[in-house]
């Protein structure tokens, strides 16, 4: 949705993009602005360059080239005129603005003893528009519930970038937090205490510590916190029943997840991986999967008809007493996103 981020854009680019067809504006996922190079937009999984008269082309010839001044204005807007207050963000390479939109930055890095300290001479911006899809998990969640324990089994969601992982975990957190309501009537359970560690401020999109997305009434968010530390802090302080984290992969993340699952807390995590095989190629994920920490592995795949999912039940005894045999896979089932059209998400 262009309207969510248009206030960040320099006036000229804002006018230009507002002149695009309504359908494109509504399904916009990324705006890529590179200094003195063609302006690119991504929507519906495809991309186009934008020409000065507001038409879209596949080739870059004759496209609008954002000027250095426009890029400077954009940088000032997204940093709230305060680059000095963004050191941590610049070190990571992206800035999250109000509404959960993430703006990736590229440019010349500053090194300090071989470690990246920040980016200067920023010449490339990727504005990724976050989208809240209420009900995105309504078809998936019942399959992940552990009937015996009355809570969700630990779940690892695997997908390449841009497949809607974050949208999905956000909705899982929301539905668990609300408990039995709406589409889950056949599966009754009270609302759970959910803890979200939101390192990139994308799941809850907190502004000054207050979530701007609906993540449910019983959800606590540790915002902009390193995942491993955040999980431990929440475990100690907020007694969560479900922990939600995004994009795990480092050894300390794995330790924290083990700690949580030993404490009887269900963990819902996402990771970048094409499929289960791919995930097993990453040492920390492979170990977690082999240990049976996760009861379910979910793969997401985007198709022209919407987002498909496939659940693999690892059936570890610790997590799921009714073991169902390893790698029992079902076919990809459509994640029917009621009322959400084709259920794309501009974030991962």
């Amino acid at each position: 949705m262009l309207s969510h981020v248009s206030h960040l854009l320099p006036l000229e680019l804002k006018r230009l993009l507002e002149g695009l067809p309504a359908e494109v504006k509504g399904s916009l996922e990324e705006i890529r602005i590179r200094e003195n190079r063609p302006l690119e937009i991504a929507y519906r999984g495809g991309f186009r360059f934008v020409t000065p008269d507001g038409t879209m082309k596949l080739d870059a010839i004759g496209a609008v080239k954002p000027s250095p001044e426009q890029c400077r204005k954009l940088l000032e807007r997204i940093t709230n005129y305060s680059l000095y207050a963004m050191e941590e963000e610049l070190r990571r390479g992206y800035i999250t603005v109000s509404g959960g939109h993430r703006i990736g930055l590229a440019g010349r890095t500053i090194l300090d003893g071989g470690v990246v300290r920040g980016i200067r001479d920023i010449g490339g911006f990727n504005i990724r528009i976050a989208r809240e899809v209420i009900g995105a998990a309504s078809h998936l969640l019942p399959k992940l519930m552990d009937a015996g324990r009355g809570t969700i089994g630990s779940t690892l969601i695997l997908a390449p970038p841009q497949q809607g992982k974050t949208t999905l975990v956000r909705d899982i957190a929301r539905m668990l937090s609300y408990g039995n309501s709406g589409p889950l009537e056949h599966l009754s359970f009270p609302g759970k205490k959910v803890g979200i560690v939101d390192e990139r401020s994308e799941i809850a999109a907190c502004v000054r510590g207050i979530p701007t997305f609906d993540i449910g009434p019983r959800t606590d968010v540790m915002d902009a916190c390193p995942k491993a530390e955040g999980m431990m802090m929440l475990l100690r302080s907020m007694s969560p029943e479900v922990l939600v984290v995004d994009e795990i992969g480092r050894p300390e993340d794995a330790d924290a997840i083990r700690e949580a699952s030993h404490a009887g807390v269900s963990v819902v995590a996402t990771a970048h991986a094409y499929d289960v095989q791919d995930a097993k190629g990453r040492p920390e994920l492979a170990r977690l999967i082999a240990e049976g920490t996760f009861a379910h592995l979910v793969e997401l795949r985007r198709s022209p008809d919407g987002i498909l999912h496939r659940i693999t039940n690892t059936g570890s005894a610790a997590q799921q007493p009714s073991a169902r045999g390893k790698d029992q896979t079902s076919v990809f089932g459509a994640l029917g996103l009621a009322g959400a059209g084709r259920g794309r998400a501009g974030d991962t």
Partner: protein, 171 residues
């Protein structure tokens, strides 16, 4: 009748003289205030990591007029969505508010130069630029005090004396 006119000229001359003297007395005072405000801004940026619009507002709150409106005006312009860069907002606000102050072009130059760097670099760099501006203002303040010593008393009596001269010439 003549006497009344002479009296009016004398009063006017004296007042003009005092006004000029007051400008010389106000300048170092206002430069001092400006320095305090910039120090405040430095603290907000360096230790508070406060975003610039908010840092400017807080600085304006802690300052007295006419210096406060230089900072407050910039913050106000930033909040309007008219696509100006920070530097443009800063320049507009300072040029608009400058007539209210007794300060001169050299102090304005210091502030305008500072405006081209505020907000667009890391913390250390920001502190460096602010300290540099403070040093320059310090030099201006010393010069302004010198001027005050030299011209304040002079203008106080000069106004009245010139008025007397005009009266004598008219008689």
């Amino acid at each position: 009748m003549k006497l009344l006119g002479a009296l009016l000229i004398l009063i006017a001359g004296t007042l003009i003289g005092f006004q000029q003297a007051a400008r010389f007395a106000d300048r170092p005072k206002q430069i001092r205030q400006l320095s305090h405000s910039l120090q405040r801004l430095e603290t907000e940026i360096g230790y508070g990591h406060t975003p610039l619009p908010e840092a400017l507002l807080r600085t304006a709150e802690a300052s007295s007029e006419p210096v406060a409106s230089l900072f407050g005006g910039t913050a106000e312009r930033l909040s309007m969505a008219d696509g100006l860069t920070f530097q443009q907002c800063w320049e507009q606000s300072i040029k608009r508010g400058w007539n209210e102050t007794s300060m001169k072009a050299s102090e304005q130059g210091v502030l305008l130069r500072l405006g081209s760097t505020l907000g667009i670099s890391d913390k250390e760099d920001q502190m460096k630029h602010l300290r540099m501006a403070l040093l320059q203002l310090q030099a201006e303040e010393d010069a302004a005090k010198d001027d005050q010593r030299r011209y304040e008393k002079m203008w106080k009596s000069l106004g009245a004396l010139l008025a007397v001269l005009i009266i004598i010439l008219m008689l």
